[in-house]
């Protein structure tokens, strides 16, 4: 008798349903299979209408994030065998996002928030091409490298209770990516990001629950990034009192061009 496992999958068709419901599927339990393999098996052989996102199946594209037994996970990186033979595995769309259909969430909120923090290199001055590339030492790279590992999978958004409670909260990944650029030696845009970050919906909305760091598949540690920026922003605030005009000029300089 071949091993099997039961997947309880959330189904929601907007033209038909008012709210999601669960449908059970029995799937063979192959030793090397991950949850994504089970979903693909169901879509190929059982129910072709099952809708979900996936792409690289190797934990780098960030498409296949879902709630598996109540935990945000990349389904391409979650082995079925860890749940045991004849177990029931609940698969739902990522929490705290609107559900478009079945396991697909609407990401427009996240993308707007990501754009808001300006996650790109901002320069006051553009050196001419003849000057060559920007040079960066390994130590300078090390300052921000961890935060650059983010694959935008939004598992951290599903882990963070503040994201669920406050729809305006910018969220872990966006804040970590902002910090990734703030700490990049090639970047000159800290002042420009300040208004979005040092805001009640930015870093000050974070209460250091730490769940974002726990679920991150790439070990980005967004909680750490946010706490670090809290310190930076707090010192910046103090400076804006101690030398208001000088500080204003520096920030205007930085933002102005």
């Amino acid at each position: 008798m071949a091993d099997k496992i039961v997947l309880e999958i959330a189904r929601y068709a907007p033209d038909r349903d008012q709210a999601p419901s669960f449908q059970s599927f029995e799937v063979p339990l192959r030793k090397e299979w991950v949850v994504l393999d089970a979903l693909n098996y169901i879509k190929d052989k059982v129910d072709g209408t099952l809708t979900y996102r996936w792409s690289c199946r190797m934990g780098i594209c960030g498409s296949c994030g879902m709630m598996v037994n109540g935990e945000p996970k990349l389904t391409c990186a979650t082995f079925l065998s860890q749940y045991g033979n004849n177990a029931k595995v609940r698969v739902e769309p990522l929490r705290y996002f609107p559900v478009v259909r079945d396991l697909v969430t609407a990401l427009s909120d996240f993308l707007v928030k990501l754009q808001k923090v300006k996650p790109w290199l901002i320069r006051k001055d553009e050196p001419p091409l003849s000057q060559g590339e920007f040079l960066q030492t390994p130590e300078q790279l090390d300052l921000y490298k961890q935060f650059s590992m983010c694959i935008n999978c939004t598992l951290c958004y599903s882990a963070c209770p503040v994201v669920g409670l406050d729809q305006e909260f910018v969220g872990p990944a966006a804040l970590a990516l902002a910090q990734r650029y703030n700490l990049d030696s090639r970047d000159q845009g800290s002042a420009e990001r300040l208004a979005t970050l040092a805001h009640p919906d930015g870093i000050w909305g974070c209460t250091f629950v730490g769940e974002c760091t726990r679920v991150c598949p790439k070990h980005v540690d967004p909680a750490g990034a946010i706490q670090q920026y809290k310190l930076t922003a707090a010192l910046d605030w103090v400076k804006s009192f101690v030398l208001p005009r000088g500080h204003e000029e520096t920030r205007q300089e930085a933002a102005h061009d």
């Binding site: 707007v112 754009q115 808001k116 209770p161 503040v162 409670l165 406050d166 002042a191 420009e192 300040l194 208004a195 040092a198 805001h199 009640p200 930015g202 000050w204 209460t207 809290k230 922003a233 707090a234 910046d236 605030w237 103090v238 804006s240 204003e248 920030r251 205007q252 933002a255 102005h256």
Partner: protein, 141 residues
């Protein structure tokens, strides 16, 4: 209406959340920073100084695990100038730590963010009241 794809539109049109250029340079960092600094300072004081004192006065002395210091000893200690400052810091900063943390616990835990001003006044008002009481007691002791 021309059927342009969403991709085309997003590539040529600026996102609607962009602020006008002038506004960016005068944006001030939020005053939340101040309360967070107080919270942090209070957290350190609470973590380092409270456990021993709570252990001694709350458990060890009442339960007789350790000999209770006499009234004369305690008041002599409390009257010294350094101790007055120490006790003031001990009573004031942790209250601000509580104020900040409890404010956010009410926002997130009970989802009562619409009572924003009331919660703010209760928490920081309470901390200020405690600070004032501590100042009075330590001045007159």
């Amino acid at each position: 209406m021309t059927e342009r794809s969403m991709t085309e539109r997003s590539m040529t049109e600026r996102p609607t959340i962009e602020r006008p250029k002038g506004e960016r340079s005068t944006a001030k960092p939020s005053n939340e920073a101040f309360f967070w600094l107080l919270f942090s300072a209070g957290g350190v004081v609470a973590a380092v100084l409270i456990p021993i004192q709570l252990f001694l006065f709350g458990l060890a002395f009442p339960l007789g695990w350790l000999p209770q210091p006499s009234y004369e000893h305690v008041i002599a200690l409390a009257r010294s100038p350094l101790a007055r400052i120490y006790l003031f810091v001990l009573c004031s900063l942790p209250l601000f730590h509580w104020a900040h943390r409890f404010r956010f616990t009410l926002y997130d835990g009970l989802q009562v963010k619409h009572l924003n001003e009331v919660i703010f006044a209760f928490c920081y008002g309470g901390a200020l009241l405690g600070t004032a009481l501590a100042a009075y007691l330590l001045w007159t002791i």
